[in-house]
């Protein structure tokens, strides 16, 4: 569904790099990108969504190279919700969601019947129908986040990229957003790739975790595989305790690693070999 082939990217000023990122995301997966601050998770989403230009490497959507696709065509297949969105925008929820039809609707300010049906559907799915005429600045953070997601949903993409969709939300609203993501995935077969800060949430809601550090992929696999003590030691330099709760791994941070712990770092290949053994 979404495939990247050895993407390299370098930021002009900070010289931050993404190195040789190749991932292959299948239709219907929920994939979470995790890693410490500055590991390149958001940058990777931006490169995939063409907000940033990679210096080399290719991105394929449905086996089509995005370089050969029109902007409008990309926007009807893949969209992303950036982390910080304008809070002061005095649009109603419905008006915001209607913007989601922009790539589908070429010339008019008026929506077609089909557009309207999809807007209705997006409002229903995100349970925003009762709030459709509220202005965004008058809503709570969680409601507003759902409104932005609703706009992305109205875009009717096959792949939805979310950059920290739960940041700044309280725990109830976090769960609400995560449940919504799961519903979009299960009911409407949307492929989701998201950056999450909360590793337990990532493990709970995704089929697959990709761990990045310093612009490189270190681990890529199911939550059960990826969440292990070595991973926390290598990537986050912490000691962690991992337990299983109804089949999903849950971690508890214990303490920051001593030097001795970081020196044991293993790289992805060692890790894979270890797994095979």
């Amino acid at each position: 569904m979404l495939r990247t082939e050895s993407i390299h990217y370098e930021h002009d000023i900070t010289k931050f790099q993404l190195n040789n990122i190749s991932i292959n995301i299948k239709q219907g997966e929920i994939v979470s990108l995790i890693g410490p601050n500055g590991s390149g998770k958001s940058t990777l989403l931006r490169v995939i969504s063409q907000l940033l230009k990679s210096s080399s490497g290719e991105v394929y959507l449905d086996e089509k190279n995005v370089r050969q696709m029109k902007k409008r065509e990309i926007a009807t297949t893949l969209t992303m919700l950036p982390q910080m969105n304008n809070h002061q925008l005095d649009l109603t929820v419905r008006e915001l969601v209607e913007f989601g039809r922009h790539p589908h609707n070429k010339n008019n300010l008026k929506l077609t019947k089909e557009d309207q049906e999809i807007v209705e559907w997006a409002l229903e799915v995100t349970r925003l129908k009762p709030l459709e005429h509220r202005l965004l600045p008058t809503m709570s953070g969680g409601e507003r986040q759902r409104a932005w997601i609703a706009m992305a949903v109205a875009q009717h993409p096959k792949v939805l990229l979310l950059d920290e969709p739960t940041t700044f939300l309280d725990i109830a609203h976090q769960l609400e957003v995560m449940e919504l993501v799961r519903e979009l995935n299960e009911k409407y077969n949307m492929t989701v790739v998201m950056v999450l800060h909360d590793i337990n949430q990532a493990a709970q809601y995704s089929n697959r975790l990709i761990v990045l550090k310093r612009g490189t992929i270190y681990y890529d696999g199911s939550p059960q595989c990826v969440l292990c003590k070595e991973m926390f030691a290598t990537i986050f330099e912490i000691e962690a305790d991992i337990t299983l709760k109804s089949g999903r791994p849950v971690f508890t941070p214990i303490r920051k690693c001593s030097n001795h712990c970081t020196s044991q770092c293993i790289n992805l290949n060692d890790y894979k070999e270890k797994r095979k053994e």
Binding site: L51, K70, M80, N86, Q88, L89, H102, P103, N107, L109
Partner: protein, 345 residues
Amino acid sequence: MAVIEESQQVYRHPLAKKRKALFILLPVLVIIASIGSLMIGQVSFSVAEVLNGIFSREDTLARRIVWEIRLPRILIGMVVGICLSIAGTLLQGVMQNPLADPGVIGITSGAGVMAVLVMVVFPGHIFYLPIASFIGAFSAAMIVYILSVKKGSTSPTRIVLVGVAVNAICGAITNMMMILYSDRVQTVLPWLAGGLTGVGWVQFQNVIYYALITLLFVMFSVRHVRILRLGDEMAKLLGHHVERSRLFLIALSTLLAGLAVSVAGLVGFVGLVVPHMMRLLIGGDYKHLVPASALGGALLVTVADTIARSVFNPTEVPVGILLAFIGGPYFLYLIYRKGNSFAAN
């Protein structure tokens, strides 16, 4: 039953009532202001005399003053107001900055340089004045745009800073020309102050066709300026060609501003004050903001020009100066209110 449902439908948007009220009120106010403006002046007329002056072809004093002098002047004032306020609205949208105004970012003074050049250096070619102002305005806009774009995106602060510099340079060139050709300055001064003194049907005809064609493009521009409000990234993610839109919108606002400058001189602040006030009243959605600003601009210039030519009787104050008295303090107030956060919307 059906009627009730429909009316509920209409009023559900929290700003729908205000919008509806404003779109009824503004045209009414524009009409009242124009009739008032036709009546007031060095010679005052009653409503009946005014109507008579417009509709009967008898050669009376009312006919000569109302039809030959005041009416074209009011109509030109309206065109100027509409052009400047739409230009301001679009620029504010493009730059995501409430301080963007054709005057602030140097477009007007760019037009000014070229216009003064024609007036003092080549006074025989006054016919080229509108084209020269377009060229000046567009060059200034392009300089501001190119210098403030970095890696495909434009920062509002940068664009205003570059605008300040462009303004200063254009001002210097204009002053230089006026000093070098000081014998011909008399014709330029009222123009620089921005006024509608002495305009008539000829100027109206010169300007109206350009204006109508440009306004047609404005109708297509709303979709572009609307989506920029979501932010560059979001607009790009919605498959929109952000930079292409920006260029189109800047070119369009330049045309509008150049049009106004070519007929009325350096009238400032209309493009700043009007869209901002309308935004306070009906919100920032450009679908409503563009037509509301157009009406507001027509109203403001009509009222301001009436005051400018009648209150200080027998002296006429250029409307540009009067507008600067309103707009200048408003600009300072905006800066005071907004502090350092210049996010539009």
